[in-house]
């Protein structure tokens, strides 16, 4: 049913600086589902995330991607965001001179095409800040300037909460977080991820999946999804490690 299909990726190939990094990925996500894409550094999972968001350095050489039934690949990064795609950055950019509040205001203004209702913006903003245990002073600080790793990641989730995308791709949102910060961020994702949208959790480790139970887990090795399963697959991986999995895959077993 196309109706429930939030994301549909078909045989996607991505190159970075002429080198193929993503080598034919296909993936479908239905509304309300959370998928985890797991893989080691260099497996292509972050490249997949960046390519979907329209980063100019990631060239899609073949394949198709539809977001909620619409072709995503002919759109600019701006248009993809407006179409409902959200990328939570692994390394959120620091932009000195631009306050968190002004940044969010610009993003929300872009959505409505007109000035936003400041009163309502403030109310939702405050609620979400409280949920993510973010202090009020955040709003007037320069974007990610001098933020700790945990603060940066909480700010990414705050943005997701404010923008209410159809599909949120969270690229290693768990990295750089201590256990307390991880719980806050995971809770933030659970509470504010759009209910009838989709979520992709891109991660190296299983630990965030203790808090956010995925509907599906995909393992990526060398630019391909080599294994797909339920939440238990992440635990298997945690127990056996990537090396063991890689060995099985190279023998042609798990695919």
């Amino acid at each position: 049913m196309n109706k429930n299909k939030i994301l549909s990726i078909n045989n996607l190939h991505v190159e970075v600086a002429g080198k193929e990094i993503v080598k034919g990925v296909s993936l479908e996500i239905n509304s309300g589902e959370k998928h985890a894409i797991m893989g080691k550094n260099g497996s292509g999972k972050s490249s997949l995330a960046n390519a979907l968001a329209g980063h100019p350095n990631y060239e899609i050489t073949s394949g198709t991607v539809e977001l909620d039934g619409e072709n995503l690949l002919d759109k600019s990064a701006t248009e993809r965001s407006l179409a409902g795609l959200f990328l939570g950055f692994q390394y959120p950019m620091t932009i000195p001179g631009v306050t968190v509040a002004n940044f969010l205001r610009a993003a929300i203004k872009a959505r409505n095409g007109v000035g936003i209702d400041i009163k309502n913006f403030r109310k939702v903003f405050k609620e979400k800040m409280k949920l993510l245990k973010i202090e009020d002073s955040f709003a007037t600080r320069y974007l990610n300037d001098g933020f700790s790793g945990g603060e940066k990641k909480r700010l990414e989730i705050l943005q997701m909460a404010m923008l209410q995308p159809k599909l949120a791709i969270l690229d290693e949102t768990d990295s750089g977080l201590d256990i307390d910060a991880l719980k806050i961020v995971a809770n933030g994702i659970i509470e504010s991820a759009p209910k009838d949208g989709g979520v992709i959790l891109v991660t190296h480790y299983q630990r965030m999946l203790d808090y956010i139970k995925p509907d599906m887990v995909h393992i990526m090795i060398d630019g391909r999804i080599v294994k797909t399963g339920g939440a238990e697959l992440a635990l298997e991986l945690e127990a056996g490690g990537y090396d063991k999995l890689e060995a099985t895959v190279s023998q042609g077993v798990g695919v």
Partner: protein, 430 residues
């Protein structure tokens, strides 16, 4: 070369004008002679590497001798000047008449604010003592030209112990093909002033030139803020030389915003002349199209325990270019000074060029000094981050540009920061 032609054919100076005192006439005449004797600065001179001096030279300086400032008439007489935002207001008209209006309270407090020609007659003792002492004919060819030919001028004197809360605003406009502006400010001990020196307007003739000389003397423990905005139309050629001399324990903040003119050469400097003097120099330039900015900043520490800081940012797009030279000089007997300087340049596309040259002349070994200079393109990752949130390319560029300048603008006195943000927003829209 024209340089030689001018010198050989230079006429004598005009006769004394009936409105000007003899000492003033003599300074003008001397300056004129000096101007003619000096060679046109050559590109081998480091301050002239980036601008062709010929572009700043009037076609016919001899003709300009005839233009003398007029004494203001009563046509704009306003004996009860009052304004909710400003304590005083000075401006020049196309007929070279210059007007200065001051709030009644300040008049009563002994503040003098009038056109420079009138002041040279009525406040001779002060004007003669200070005029040309910081930006005189010995400074250089174009400064000598200004002192000889200035045709609109303002004078502001603040006695000791007068605190002026609301800014005094100057609006300076081009008059005809060549306007020579002059400003002399003398601030007494323990006094306080915010002065807005705003250059704006259309140059009626293509490539009309404005040349301005600004001299500011501050008394001990005074607090002076000087804001220079240059937003002349893109057909103008603008040359401004500004010097301030800061006395013991005085605080001086000089802020500049350059967004106008086809060619803008700006030389701003502060001499820390008394122990404990502090100078902060903050500025931004935003250039587009074919604009050319050639900026020189200077902090000259002549006294011990003095402090200086420069934060100057440049943003360029299209085919604009910019050169910044920043000199810090600390004299041998100026001990325990602190001198900091940062110049950063952001290029929004492939077209613009920017250069940044810090110059340090530290003659004393007990000093804390640092300098930094960067030139770089817009960060593509920043751009992508903003676009990934739904902001379009143009808006993302604007946000990054504003953000780049904002930490510097945030150091401006609050009211001047607001003005600057407004100027930038207008320029970005246009």
């Amino acid at each position: 070369m024209n340089t030689v032609t001018i010198r050989k054919n230079s006429t004598g100076f005009r006769n004394q004008n009936r409105f000007e005192p003899e000492w003033l006439y003599n300074i003008r005449k001397e300056s004129w002679n000096y101007f003619n004797e000096l060679d046109l600065p050559h590109r081998s001179n480091h301050l002239w590497r980036y601008t062709n001096a010929q572009d700043l030279l009037p076609n016919n300086p001899e003709e300009l001798i005839k233009i003398v400032p007029s004494l203001p008439d009563q046509s704009e007489n306003d004996s009860s000047f009052s304004d909710k935002d400003f304590s005083g207001y000075g401006y020049n008209r196309p007929d070279f008449m210059t007007f200065a209006k001051l709030s009644h309270d300040l008049e009563k407090a002994g503040v003098v604010f009038k056109d420079l020609l009138t002041a040279s007659r009525e406040n001779e003792d002060i004007v003669e003592k200070y005029l040309g002492q910081l930006v005189g004919y010995g400074f250089g060819k174009f400064e000598a030209m200004n002192l000889a030919l200035w045709n609109t001028g303002l004078f502001l004197y603040i006695p000791d112990n007068v605190e002026i809360e609301k800014p005094i605003r100057l609006q300076r406009h081009p008059s005809g093909p060549n306007t020579f502006h002059r400003l002399l400010v003398v601030v007494g001990n323990n006094s306080k002033l915010t002065l807005i020196d705003d250059y704006s307007g259309e140059c009626r003739k293509e490539e009309a030139q404005t040349n301005s000389a600004v001299e500011i003397f501050t008394g001990d423990a005074s607090n002076v803020k000087y804001f220079n905005t240059q937003r002349l139309s893109n057909s103008c050629v603008s040359y401004i030389t500004q010097r301030a001399q800061i006395s013991r324990d005085a605080k001086f903040v000089s802020v500049f915003a350059g967004i106008g003119s086809k060619i803008s050469k700006f030389n701003t400097g502060t001499i820390l002349n008394g122990e404990g003097a502090e100078s902060r120099l903050y500025g931004i330039v935003f250039g587009n199209e074919n604009q050319q900015f050639d900026y020189h900043t200077m902090h000259h520490h002549k006294a011990s325990n003095s402090f200086s800081d420069i934060d100057f940012k440049v943003v360029l797009k299209d085919e604009a270019n910019s050169a910044t030279t920043g000199l810090i000089r600390v004299e041998e007997d100026a001990l325990n000074c602190q001198a900091y300087q940062v110049n950063r340049n952001l290029l929004l596309n492939e077209g613009p060029k920017a250069e940044s040259i810090p110059e340090l002349e530290i003659l004393c070994d007990q000093v804390q000094c640092s300098h930094g200079a960067t030139v770089g393109p817009i960060d593509q990752e920043m751009l992508f981050y903003l676009m990934s949130r739904g902001v379009d390319y143009k808006e993302a560029m604007n946000i990054i540009t504003f953000g780049y300048l904002e930490p510097t603008i945030a150091k401006f006195p609050a009211e001047l920061g607001e003005l600057t943000r407004g100027l930038l927003a207008t320029k970005m829209k246009g």
